[in-house]
């Protein structure tokens, strides 16, 4: 079974076994190693990506279920300025400024959850704590992450 997806705006096909977790396809076949492996059990959120505009744990999605899906990973967030410089997504920029990352393992998943929350705040009626509930961080104690998210929200509601 050949599986087609769009990953960060690019068409992509894979012949990986259909049961392979999407996470493995992203990391091993697509060499998009920004998305992290933490637990493989849906508990930690390190593997969080956006699939068809929904937040998912990519370790729990057998790749066959991602057929024809649109996938967004942390690698797709930054934009290129006219002069070729990289412009980080406001959530990434805010993490940088607020010290929202320490070891960095949780960061890509945390950033994807944050980006998704700014797009769809209505999906987490209890706010940021609910939006980031599925993402564990063993380093920061979360307060820098929350500050970063508040700063990103102030910076405007990015698309």
């Amino acid at each position: 079974m050949t599986i087609r997806m769009t990953i960060n705006g690019r068409d992509c096909t894979t012949d990986a076994n259909p049961m392979t977790p999407l996470l493995d396809v992203l990391r091993e076949s697509c060499r998009l190693t920004g998305t992290k492996y933490g637990c493989g059990e849906g508990e930690c959120g390190a593997c969080t990506v956006i699939m068809n505009d929904e937040l998912v744990m990519s370790c729990l999605v057998p790749v066959m279920q991602a057929e024809v899906a649109t996938i967004e990973t942390v690698e797709g967030l930054a934009r290129m300025a006219d002069d070729g410089a990289e412009i980080l997504h406001p959530v990434q920029q805010a993490f940088l400024e607020c010290g929202g990352a320490q070891c960095g393992i949780c960061t890509p998943g945390m950033v994807m959850a944050g980006v998704h929350h700014l797009r769809h705040p209505e999906l987490a009626p209890d706010g940021l704590a609910e939006a980031l509930e599925g993402n564990l961080c063993r380093c920061t104690g979360y307060s820098a992450i929350f500050r970063a998210m508040e700063r990103a929200a102030e910076a405007g509601r990015p698309a």
Partner: protein, 281 residues
């Protein structure tokens, strides 16, 4: 890299319900996958015995939605917790389902996990099952032989044992409308709010002269407490109701909690249920 053994799981990806039922009837030990939030955990941990698997995702157009039919609510087999939480009719009339969905896992789990997957798994800790018991939900089972409907309260025959036959798939959950003016109560007690497996969960609906109470994590299956329900319906006070509960509930000791703790928590939850749902309260 998680996977080393994906080849031991031949995959079937039916495009129609008819095809799915043919496969289920024809392929021995075929394991359906809906949201995958249980199956993939087992798979990744190497705990899923090799077997053919059947992903249901292409059936989303037929089985994905939530709709109303003849006054009842119909939840398709592929409807997720997120669908339930944000559906206007569910929000208006079935608050226990919204609450149960809200406390199940985090958003990433709610976006993939299905209520039907929660039912089939058969864990006594499944968080939506007490709500479905309290609302008197029915489960629709399909096979190439035809269709049957089973009350969710009759679906379990023992610890992780169900009446689901090898050639059957669940197509939908059908829930009758709650009585007018009914009061609804749901509480999950776990070690923390998100992601944690329940120690005790209760769902209750109290109408003018009827009470339904369903409990999770206190026995081998989700269970109702009919004596306590009858006592409350006939006007017992809180002390009497709590004493009756102790006569018909015998929770388990396990790694998450003890029998005595679970019974004490259940009795406290019953008092809160009575207070919150008292007619006039």
């Amino acid at each position: 890299m998680i996977v080393s053994n994906a080849v031991r799981y031949p995959t079937y990806v039916p495009a129609t319900v008819a095809e799915a039922l043919e496969q289920k009837a024809g392929v021995a030990n075929l394991l359906p996958i809906a949201g995958g939030t249980e199956v993939m955990v087992m798979f990744n941990e190497g705990l899923l015995a090799p077997c053919p698997v059947q992903s249901l995702h292409r059936l989303a157009p037929e089985w994905g939605g939530i709709r109303e039919a003849e006054g009842s609510l119909v939840i398709g087999a592929l409807a997720t917790y997120t669908d339930v939480r944000h559906h206007p009719v569910v929000r208006e009339r079935y608050p226990l389902l919204v609450e149960a969905a809200r406390v199940t896992g985090a958003l990433q789990i709610q976006n993939r996990g299905t209520l039907v997957g929660n039912i089939v798994n058969g864990s006594p800790a499944a968080d939506t099952v007490p709500a479905l018991f309290a609302y008197g939900a029915q489960v629709r089972l399909l096979s190439t032989r035809g269709e049957r409907t089973v009350a969710v309260t009759d679906f379990y025959t023992g610890y992780r044992k169900t009446v689901l036959r090898a050639d059957e798939l669940i197509s939908e959950i059908v829930i009758p409308p709650p009585a007018d003016g009914a009061r609804h109560y749901y509480r999950k007690v776990g070690t923390r709010a998100a992601q944690a497996i329940s120690k005790v969960v209760v769902a209750g609906v109290r109408g003018r002269d009827s009470v339904r109470l369903a409990w999770g994590s206190v026995g081998p299956t989700t269970l109702r407490t009919p004596k306590t329900e009858a006592a409350i319906a006939s006007g017992a006070d809180a002390d009497e109701a709590v004493a009756t509960l102790a006569t018909e509930m015998s929770p388990l000791d396990d790694i998450r909690s003890t029998r005595d703790y679970r019974l004490a928590v259940s009795q406290n939850l019953l008092r809160e249920f009575l207070k919150r749902t008292s007619p006039g309260g």
